[in-house]
C-alpha cells in the first residue's frame, strides 16, 4: 500500500443473511481527500460505511484503515485505530442523557487522562469550530436538527482524528443548513488535514465538496472518479442518478407474472 492512501478496500464481499449486499468492492481513499460514496437507496452505501467503521464483519476481502486491516485486528489495535477516527452519524447519535458538552467530552474522558479544565477548553474549541459556541449546557433534545449534526461533528473531531466519516450529512436539513455543513466539511479538510469519507445521495452537496466520487449500485462500484469524470460518464445508471431519472429497468413478463401468482 502506498503511503498516500488512508483507506484501502480490497475485494470486499458482504452478505445480509443470504442476500449479497456488497460485491467485490475495491476502493482507495488518499490522504487529505474528500471521498464521496454515492448511490441510490439500497445501493449498499450504508452497508459499505458500516464495514468501513468495523461495525459489521465482511464475508470476504480486506479493509485497511490507516494501515491496519480491520478485518483481522486485535482488540488493542482496533482500540488505538478508533481513537484516530471520528464518525458523524446520520441522526447525530448524541447521548440523550448528557448535555452537548458532556457528549463532546466523552471520548476525551474515556481515552485521555486530562483534567476537567483542559477537557472543557478543548470541548469549547471544537464547539466553536462547528459554530455551536455557548451551547454546551443544552441537552440534545433542545437542539435543532442541524445543530445536532454539528454537535455530532464536534464530538467526532474532539480527538483530532486523521480520518472522518459522515453518514448522510445533509439528510433532513434545509438547503441553507445543508450548505453550511458542506462548508464545515471543506474547512475540516483544509484546516485540520483530515481525510474525509462522506456517504450521501445528495448530488449538489456531493459535487460541491468531493475530490473524488465512488458511485455504488446494487452492491457494485459503477465508477470512481473526479466530479468531472462522473458528470461526463456515459453509464446509464450513473446518468439516471445524476439526472434524477426513474430507473428504466426492463420488466421480464414471465417473471412478473410469476411474482404475482406465486
Amino acid at each position: 500500500m502506498t503511503a498516500e492512501s488512508v483507506i484501502e478496500v480490497r475485494e470486499l464481499v458482504a452478505h445480509y443473511g443470504s442476500r449479497k449486499i456488497l460485491d467485490q468492492i475495491d476502493m482507495t481513499v488518499r490522504s487529505g481527500e474528500i471521498m464521496i460514496i454515492m448511490g441510490g437507496s439500497g445501493s449498499g452505501k450504508s452497508t459499505l460505511l458500516r464495514h468501513l467503521l468495523g461495525l459489521n464483519k465482511p464475508t470476504a476481502g480486506s479493509i485497511r484503515l490507516l494501515g491496519t486491516d480491520i478485518t483481522q485486528t486485535t482488540v488493542a489495535e482496533a482500540h488505538e485505530l478508533r481513537k484516530r477516527m471520528g464518525v458523524a452519524f446520520q441522526g447525530g447519535a448524541l447521548f440523550s442523557s448528557m448535555t452537548v458538552g458532556e457528549n463532546v467530552k466523552l471520548p476525551l474522558r474515556e481515552h485521555a487522562k486530562l483534567d476537567e479544565a483542559t477537557m472543557n477548553i478543548m470541548m469549547r474549541l471544537k464547539l466553536e469550530v462547528v459554530n455551536l459556541g455557548g451551547f454546551e449546557h443544552l441537552m440534545p433534545a433542545q437542539l435543532s436538527g442541524g445543530m445536532i449534526k454539528r454537535a455530532a461533528v464536534a464530538r467526532a473531531i474532539i480527538m483530532d482524528p486523521k480520518l472522518l466519516f459522515f453518514d448522510e450529512p445533509s439528510a433532513g436539513l434545509d438547503p441553507v443548513v445543508s450548505a453550511e455543513l458542506d462548508e464545515l466539511i471543506l474547512r475540516l479538510r483544509d484546516a485540520m488535514k483530515m481525510s474525509i469519507v462522506v456517504v450521501t445521495h445528495e448530488l449538489d452537496s456531493a459535487f460541491k465538496i468531493a475530490d473524488r466520487i465512488t458511485v455504488l449500485d446494487h452492491g457494485r462500484i459503477l465508477m470512481t472518479g473526479t466530479v468531472d469524470e462522473v458528470r461526463g460518464c456515459d453509464n446509464t445508471r450513473v446518468q439516471d442518478l445524476l439526472n434524477r431519472r426513474p430507473r428504466a429497468d426492463d420488466i421480464d413478463a414471465d417473471e412478473y407474472l410469476q411474482r404475482l401468482t406465486a
Binding site: L53, R82, V87, G91, F95, L106, P107, E110, H111
Partner: protein, 270 residues
C-alpha cells in the same frame, strides 16, 4: 389441499428444533453478557478501560435508593398479610403464638428477596431494556463502538455492579419491613409485645436463613441485569421494537426469577 402427514411431521420437528436452538442461543448470550460485564468490572482498569465509579453510583441511586419506598410499603404489607393468614390457620390448633416463626422464616427466606426482585425487575429491568433499546435504535450504541467505548463495559458493567450491591441490600430492607409488618399486626391482634416478637423471631432464625435470602437476591439481580440489557441490545425495528423488548424483559425476568427461586430453594434445603 391435503397436507402430506410426513411433511407436517418434519415441519413440526424442524420448528421444535429451531425453537430449541434459539433458546440455547439466548441462554448462551445471557452467560456471555454476564461474563463480559464481570470481566470489565474486574479487569477493565488494566485495559485502560475502567468501569467508572460515578456511573455505578448513579445506577445504585436509580436501582436501589429510589426503590426504597415502594419496597418498604409492599414488604410491610406482605408481613401483615402473612400474620393474618398465619393467625387464621394456626387458630385451628390453638397455636397462634407460633405465627412469629412462620413470618420470620418465610419473610427472610422467600418473600423478602422475591418481592424485591419483582419490584426491581418491574422498575429497573424494563427501564434498562428501554434505555439500551432506544440507544440501539438511534445508533448511540454504534457511536460508542466507533469511539472505542465498549458498550458492555460502559452500559452493562455499572448496572451489574449496582445490582449485585443494591438488590441484596434492598432484600434485607424488605426482610426488616416484612418483619415489622408482622410485628405490628400480631401486636394488635394477639397483644404480643414487640420485644417478645423480636425474641421469638431471633430464636427461630439462623444466620443461614438470612444468607440464603441474600444469595438469592444477588442471583435475581444478575438475572434482571442480563435479561434487561440483552433484550435492549437485541432491539430491532424502532419504537415498536423497544416496546416489545421492554415487555419481554419484564416478563422473562420475573419468570426466570420465580424458576430460579424454586431451584435455589430446592437445592439449598437438601
Amino acid at each position: 389441499m391435503a397436507e402430506d402427514p410426513n411433511n407436517a411431521l418434519t415441519a413440526s420437528v424442524e420448528h421444535l428444533g429451531r425453537a430449541t436452538v434459539e433458546v440455547i442461543e439466548e441462554f448462551g448470550y445471557y452467560f456471555l453478557l454476564f461474563f463480559e460485564s464481570a470481566y470489565w468490572l474486574l479487569f477493565g482498569a488494566f485495559q485502560k478501560q475502567p468501569v467508572r465509579l460515578p456511573s455505578v453510583f448513579g445506577q445504585m441511586m436509580t436501582i436501589g435508593i429510589a426503590a426504597i419506598p415502594i419496597i418498604f410499603i409492599l414488604s410491610f404489607t406482605i408481613g401483615v398479610m402473612l400474620a393474618i393468614q398465619g393467625i387464621h390457620t394456626l387458630k385451628t390448633f390453638g397455636a397462634e403464638e407460633q405465627v412469629v416463626v412462620g413470618i420470620a422464616l418465610s419473610v427472610m427466606r422467600e418473600f423478602g428477596p422475591l418481592i424485591t426482585a419483582i419490584v426491581v425487575a418491574g422498575r429497573s429491568g424494563s427501564a434498562l431494556a428501554a434505555r439500551i433499546g432506544t440507544m440501539q435504535v438511534s445508533q448511540e450504541i454504534d457511536a460508542l463502538r466507533v469511539m472505542s467505548i465498549n458498550p458492555v463495559r460502559y452500559l452493562a458493567s455499572p448496572v451489574l455492579a449496582a445490582m449485585l450491591l443494591m438488590v441484596p441490600a434492598l432484600a434485607f430492607l424488605s426482610d426488616l419491613a416484612g418483619l415489622l409488618g408482622g410485628a405490628v399486626f400480631t401486636n394488635l391482634e394477639l397483644g404480643l409485645s414487640y420485644s417478645a416478637y423480636v425474641d421469638r423471631a431471633l430464636e427461630a432464625l439462623e444466620a443461614d436463613d438470612v444468607m440464603q435470602g441474600l444469595i438469592k437476591a444477588m442471583v435475581f439481580g444478575i438475572i434482571i441485569t442480563v435479561i434487561g440489557i440483552s433484550n435492549g441490545f437485541e432491539v430491532k425495528g424502532g419504537a415498536e421494537g423497544v416496546g416489545k423488548a421492554t415487555t419481554r424483559s419484564v416478563v422473562l425476568s420475573i419468570s426466570y426469577i420465580v424458576i430460579a427461586d424454586m431451584l435455589f430453594t430446592y437445592f439449598l434445603n437438601r
